[in-house]
């Protein structure tokens, strides 16, 4: 029996980043959903309920911090693990303040990305 693939939602306004992360995660047997801006993401999360959300902190249109805060406020999605990504100096601090569960600095190592996602995808719910 084929186990359902874990759904990873990747939110970043840079197409290159989305593409390369997708390649890495698909290779690790994840189903990857992508979104390129924060605002429209919330209804999408409600609908698709991903297992892990990877989100960049600084996107045009809305700061990722805000989206993370919103996610963590809503009962239906608040326990989805959120990994914040950023190329900002103070990214880790901001991630913590926004309520993210973990942080990935850019530029990142693809192995580091993969293991982080795997860690949160194989969560207690499984």
């Amino acid at each position: 029996m084929m186990q359902n693939k874990k759904k990873i939602l990747v939110v970043d306004d840079d197409a290159g980043i989305l593409e390369v992360i997708k390649i890495v995660l698909v290779e690790k047997n994840f189903e990857v959903l992508t979104a390129s801006e924060g605002l429209g993401v919330i209804p999408g999360i409600e609908k698709n309920l991903p297992d892990v959300i990877l989100i960049d902190l600084w996107m045009s249109g809305m700061d990722g911090d805000e989206v993370i805060k919103k996610i963590k406020c809503q009962k239906k999605m608040s326990d989805i693990p959120v990994i914040a990504m950023s190329a900002l100096e103070n990214g880790e601090k901001r991630a913590e303040e926004a309520g993210a569960d973990d942080f990935l600095a850019k530029p990142f190592d693809i192995d580091e990305l993969a293991s982080l996602v795997e860690k949160y995808a194989t969560g207690p719910l499984v």
């Binding site: 840079d14 290159g16 980043i17 600084w58 100096e89 850019k106 990142f108």
Partner: protein, 574 residues
Amino acid sequence: MRNGWSDNVIQNIYGDEIGDLATRRLAQRLNAQYAIANTLSQHENHRDTLTKVLQVIGETLEWEGGALWLIDENTKKLICGQVWQANPGKNKSFLHATQNISFGFGEGLPGRVWATRRPQWVVDVTKAPFFLRAKEAVENGLHGAFAFPLLSGRKVLGVIDFASHEVRPPDKDLLNMVGAAGQQIGQYLAHVKTVEEQDSLLKQLKQERHRVEQAAIESEQRASELDAVFAALGDSLVVYDAKGAAVSANPAAIKMLGFNPVGLENHGLADKASIRHRRGEKIAFAELPSALALQGQKMVSKYIVIKNFAGRDVMMTCSAAPIRRREKIVGAVMLLHDVSESWSVEKQKDDFVAIASHELRTPISTVKAFTQILERHLSRSADEASKKYIGKIGTQLDRLAALVDELLEVSRIGTGKLELNKEMFDLEDLVRETVEDFQRTVDTHTVIVKGGLQREIFADRDRIGQVLLNLLSNAVKYSPEAEKVVVSVKEGVGNVTVEVKDFGIGISRKNQAKIFDRFFRVSGKTNGRFPGLGLGLHISSEIIKRHEGELRVKSTPGKGTTFSFSLPFKYDAK
């Protein structure tokens, strides 16, 4: 030549003709008296008056020449003040003698008269042994003379004497007359003196008053100018008295604060407006620029944060200076200048750098990830060449990422935003760790560690490690022909010195002065071999500076270079 003995008709003051000699002489005397009184009553300057007096005496009494003698206060002698001659141009030597001689008390004819306070007649001066100008008198044919004192009360103010070509028998009436005249002239002189003094005093007083008036006007002008400046100034200005109570505030200050600080004592304004350090910490009372100015510090300027009328925090520069009156400090002036605009610009600049580095890191991130993916793919194939090339791309990417980091660092340092996390740590341990990590990436050189440190130091461990790494990589980079790099840790008095020594190409004296500058790179044929932004040493130097130390260099071109820095064991946490 007019001759007293001639029979020329003499007219009396009424113009009538006089007949015999006695009557004539009486008429003369009366004329003279009248003329003297008349002259003295004219309101001319006293020089002219006195000359005229001599003239009228001489003319009415028909004498050849006369002189006015005044007492010189300095020498206490009689000197000639005025002369009169019936025939100017004649009696030259006598005139000259008269003008150049001086008589002490009792000396000569005038001196005698000064002493006796009585008029004196000399029948023939050429025969008078006391007459000091006898020689000249002989030369000029002068014989008869008389002199009388100029008295004010009992005080002799001067003497007048006259001479004639004739030998004249004593004329008692004449002497009496001139005696009386002497009183008149004396009074006049006394009066003149007083008036002169008064005049001079008056003049001085007038000048003084004028000066004071001028000063008052200027002071008023300046005051109104200052008032205008005070009122119009866009910056907030507060004036304190010597005790730190605010005594005056300009409209801009009241507007900015939302209240009038006048009356607040003991620098109470700082409390009420919540004046803080730039980073938000409370300012100690003694650190307030206004307090420092009252202590005498000439010009204090600090960045502060203050709550304005709307309760908003505003960044300002706070400057203060003492007010002195005759060396004593009587107050202070404090100026507040809003810099929040420029701080927001700085913030923007900050944001620019943050944005720029973010934007740069994003494609770097993507390329790095793809490179790694490629590497994984290629690792399964036998395509050695491709693997090698991918490896090189990866290395360059890491360099690129490091450069972006450096840029951000340098920009932080430039805007003073480099934050250090100081802690107590084992330096010897950090050195060994850093050298070990570094040695793993370098096989061309051996890094030797000498010395050590037993105690811990207080510094930012990561940053010091960063400096060490920078120096190590420079050492290797600039000594391609050498085989070793020596790191030494030496304990000094109250500090520790770390040295990194290489045996490479060295640095010329000229360049030694510049290597810690931003973006400085060695030019010339080494350019292609040592590319880079040239920021490493600058950043390292700044980090050490922030630790109260200094990054130093000693080098001999062709022999090698030693970089060294000292860190104090402990100092106040800043």
